[in-house]
Symmetry: none
Subunit: 170 residues, 4 copies
């Protein structure tokens, strides 16, 4: 209780001290800052926990990224020993899935030499065109984000990503 | 009528011809692909029309960009003779405003040497830290996007951007 | 009439108020700022309207970008629910078409493994090497810009892009 | 128990099915893949939890990023309604702090016009030169990573970042 009071007083003090810098300290109403149905932090944590659990169960070292409906990063975890390259790959898988409204596995087929979308990986500052990115939908089927997993084989990445996304439709 | 029939038949034919490429031709349900309250194409067109009108009235040559709640480009127009540099500036102003939930004019004050956010323009692949980016809110005060205008003085850019954004709360 | 007068007065006032900022308020002669035959805002709007109409008729969710003869963005529209990835793809298709003076469909054949331009997508900050980018020519056959469409299959994208470009030679 | 068995069998099956793809399924020894004292996933979660708690206590909407000793992203969380721009800023603050072995607040002073490191923000693909990035040290004073926080005033960002980093030396 006392700790909380100190924390609040500290905030007020900071506001006074730093208000000369032009920063407005009035409490922000978070609900005005994001669309009502977008994936929440709490939901992202559930998705992340389910994905990490699947990775641990399968003894996999994974990078896991979650983006919201706007394709913007919401949560990320790199397990100990997981590939450094997979930081960017996991994030790109999630963004790619959301920005094409399909899993990156579906995309991988379209992006092969000779097929429809061959070369698409050179757009958008680099896209991930192999499996491991899956859409996150809510119970109504609305796309609210995407999850990207990288660190194992494509099949392993997909298994972990799907385990994460599945939480939202349970 | 007959033209429409031909158009539909053409679509079906295309689906048959190209389905070997792996592309799914089933009609897409747009409503599952974006969050309910996000700015719509129709709204973006109204905002754009109001901004262009203000620019024409004030004899200004403007680049005008509109982004949605996720900060992703929704609409863009470059008037004849408007600065080429302002293509990127207008887009960055809109993205910057949305991604900090404040006008770029407010930001410009915080980003001056010695102030809180000095140097912020070096993040996010380049941010616009001078006026001309304004939030687009709906009647409930929810942020649904932003508009960025570039081509005149900061005051002129702001006037045009505000004229665009004002349409949504009328 | 009165409204216009107020608008003009407002402009003059802004000039006086903000001229200390170093900005020159003298009226700009737009005609000195772009090449005589370049695609105009009015023409771009006609091209855009025709492309959007074709997309609506075919029940497609599209991103549509138009660039001028200099390859610089002139107009852009994202229909509701259209792919986020296609913002960049549509713009890149238009730029790619203009910067190689061929449709991206023609380019797609040259860019396949083993062919002449294999790997070209890695240049220019990323090029689009699949169909959906079409040149915009005027009645004299002069290239005045390009249109890029993304959101459907390649065939669908091409159909919409061609419907847009066709307006200029009617 | 039975669930775990199924999970293991599933992994083995995946290895058999997909090994033709060239991916080696032998169990990986995570401990060979990162330095002994580097920040672990478990530690990063503790740091993150403490930072999020401080943000919630102070009613702040924050983006929080943690990098390891190599400056590579380890964990990230964006709270609901937190600035979109702060995704990149939080990550850059953490990377900047680690890559210069000082807090970004210390750096902010050196990076002002006229001072030693003026202009440094233009290097490394963009650096963050305002407070909110803090080093994470272990009990021996060894730098094992850094935390970057963005969403409030600089003072607020610093308070939250320091609350996170403090966990490691308790």
């Amino acid at each position: 209780m006392r700790k909380k009071l100190i924390s609040v007083l500290q905030s007020i003090l900071l506001c006074i001290l730093y208000s000369w810098g032009g920063y407005v300290c009035a409490e922000q109403d978070a609900s005005k800052f994001y669309l009502p149905n977008d994936i929440t932090q709490a939901q992202a944590e559930q998705v992340m926990a389910a994905a990490v659990k699947k990775a641990v169960d399968n003894k996999l070292l994974m990078n896991i990224a979650i983006v919201d409906a706007g394709g913007n990063l919401k949560a990320f975890v790199r397990m100990d020993g997981a590939f450094l390259a997979s930081i960017d790959i996991a994030i790109k898988k999630a963004k790619t899935a959301r920005s094409l409204n399909m899993s990156t596995y579906e995309l991988s087929k379209l992006a092969q030499p000779g097929n429809e979308l061959y070369g698409i990986e050179a757009t958008n500052g680099g896209m991930a065109i192999f499996g491991g990115g899956e859409l996150i939908k809510n119970k109504d089927g609305l796309i609210v984000g995407a999850i990207g997993v990288s660190g194992g084989s494509v099949a392993e990445d997909m298994t972990v990503a799907q385990a994460g996304a599945a939480v939202m439709v349970k």
